[in-house]
């Protein structure tokens, strides 16, 4: 989905701004409900009621529940990536530690609304997911950040030059996503998630370190 779609045009017609207002109300209501009741526990009807609009109006703006969640996550991610864009260029030290810091920022951020994030993962497998929706794990911007971090690692000599970036990115993303399982099974807090992720990144780093 185009990142600019959610923005209000420079001089919106009354009709457009009304549509935009509806959209924002749906997203705000949905964010609250997904965070409280999870993805499966939330219905479009409830979102409409919570937003104070008719169910039909929701459907004129969004094709499905999956699409609403996708928009909710997108709106949330903007500040997170602003933060990462600000911090990442200043990170120093071994690649493994730079990666750890990047993920610690993620866990700190997501843990405040962890149920929302779980909804996001659950929805990646949902039947109502629209082709335009962005399922978890396909965030190009984040993957690019990891690639840049690895690239820098090659330059500083702690990443093997012939390593397949996409493979490493996928392994790290798998570890990241599945670490959230600990919220479901152990009710883990951000600190616990970060500790587990640190160990996993360490293990993957052994796999991309230069061979002696």
């Amino acid at each position: 989905m185009d990142a600019d779609l959610g923005r209000i045009p420079a001089s919106p017609s009354p009709r457009q701004s009304q549509k935009e207002a509806t959209r924002q109300r749906v997203i705000a209501a949905a964010r609250e409900l997904f965070d409280t009741h999870g993805y499966q526990g939330t219905t479009i009807r409830e979102i409409a009621r919570h937003a104070g609009i008719a169910v039909g109006s929701v459907f004129t703006t969004f094709a499905s529940k999956g699409e609403i969640l996708s928009e909710v996550m997108q709106a949330r991610l903007d500040p997170l990536y602003a933060e990462l864009d600000r911090v990442v260029p200043h990170l120093r030290g071994p690649t493994v530690d730079r990666l750890r810091t990047m993920f610690a920022i993620h866990f700190e951020f997501e843990h405040r609304h962890v149920r929302l994030f779980l909804s996001h993962i659950s929805a990646a497998y949902d039947w109502t997911l629209a082709p335009a929706a962005r399922p978890y794990g396909r965030n190009a911007r984040f993957q690019e950040l990891i690639r840049e971090t690895l690239q820098k690692g090659i330059a500083q000599g702690d990443v093997r030059p012939d390593v397949d970036f996409q493979e490493v990115v996928d392994l790290i993303m798998a570890a990241y996503g599945w670490t959230y399982r600990l919220v479901i099974t152990d009710d883990a807090d951000a600190k616990a998630l970060i500790a587990v992720m640190d160990r996993q990144i360490g293990l993957i780093a052994e796999g991309f370190a230069p061979r002696n």
């Binding site: 999870g38 993805y39 499966q40 526990g41 149920r115 779980l118 993962i121 659950s122 929805a123 990646a124 497998y125 949902d126 039947w127 399922p135 794990g137 397949d164 493979e167 490493v168 996928d170 392994l171 993303m173 798998a174 570890a175 996503g177 599945w178 399982r181 479901i184 099974t185 160990r199 996993q200 293990l203 993957i204 052994e206 796999g207 991309f208 370190a209």
Partner: protein, 216 residues
């Protein structure tokens, strides 16, 4: 595990033959499970209702509830059957592996092969497992833990053979192997990856995850 057939039920009751009533009840269960399996695969967990499942099985919702407490109970039963069968298939496959990386790869492939014909059911299971309410239901299952055990067994054996170092962090590595195994399912489900493509990818992933534990 296999589906329990009426004859097996009979075998479990050596003292006397099952009553006609017990057999009929078992038949009903099997019919409901088959219908549920089909509907979960076609419509997902959320989309399939008990009412639809009952209709597909040709019985009343009351008859379904006489055998299963609710939809999650039904789903859990289907998943348990599959997981037990799969864990056994994975162990069989691992035996044929040459070296730890190959054995682990064979475990991965046993899973992808098993689910190749039921990817939509896998998709429903992933959706449920990430739900805060449904998740514990699936993840807490002993058969779910059994998957990690299969990976741990391969690594432990490799440590004993001297193929992996004694500091191989078997528990963390088994966990990560299992996670990685699961993480390739979206490619299979949504992008139609072939078994060959999955195998090539899995082989590289396993190599990276085991690299730090290799001796010498």
């Amino acid at each position: 595990m296999k589906h329990i057939s009426p004859t097996q039920v009979a075998a479990d009751l050596p003292a006397r033959a099952p009553t006609r009533r017990a057999l009929a009840k078992q038949q009903t269960r099997l019919k409901v499970l088959a219908a549920a399996r089909r509907l979960f695969s076609e419509q997902g967990y959320e989309g399939a209702t008990i009412r639809d499942i009952a209709a597909a099985a040709g019985m009343s919702t009351g008859a379904v509830f006489a055998n299963f407490t609710d939809k999650s109970d039904l789903f859990r039963e289907i998943m348990t059957d599959d997981m037990e069968a799969l864990v056994a298939a994975m162990r069989d496959a691992a035996v044929r592996g040459r070296g730890v990386e190959d054995a682990v790869l064979k475990v991965f492939m046993a899973g992808y092969t098993f689910y190749k014909s039921r990817l939509q059911l896998a998709r429903a299971a992933f959706s449920v497992s990430w739900d805060k309410d449904g998740g514990p239901n699936l993840r807490g299952m002993t058969s779910s833990q059994a998957f990690q055990d299969v990976f741990a067994e391969q690594l432990t054996a490799a440590v004993e053979r001297g193929e992996l170092s004694k500091e191989a962090e078997v528990k963390l590595r088994s966990q990560m192997l299992f996670d990685t195994y699961l993480s390739n399912f979206p490619q299979a489900i949504f992008e139609g990856w072939s078994l060959d493509a999955l195998q090539a990818r899995a082989r590289d992933q396993i190599r990276i995850l085991l690299a730090g534990a290799r001796r010498g």
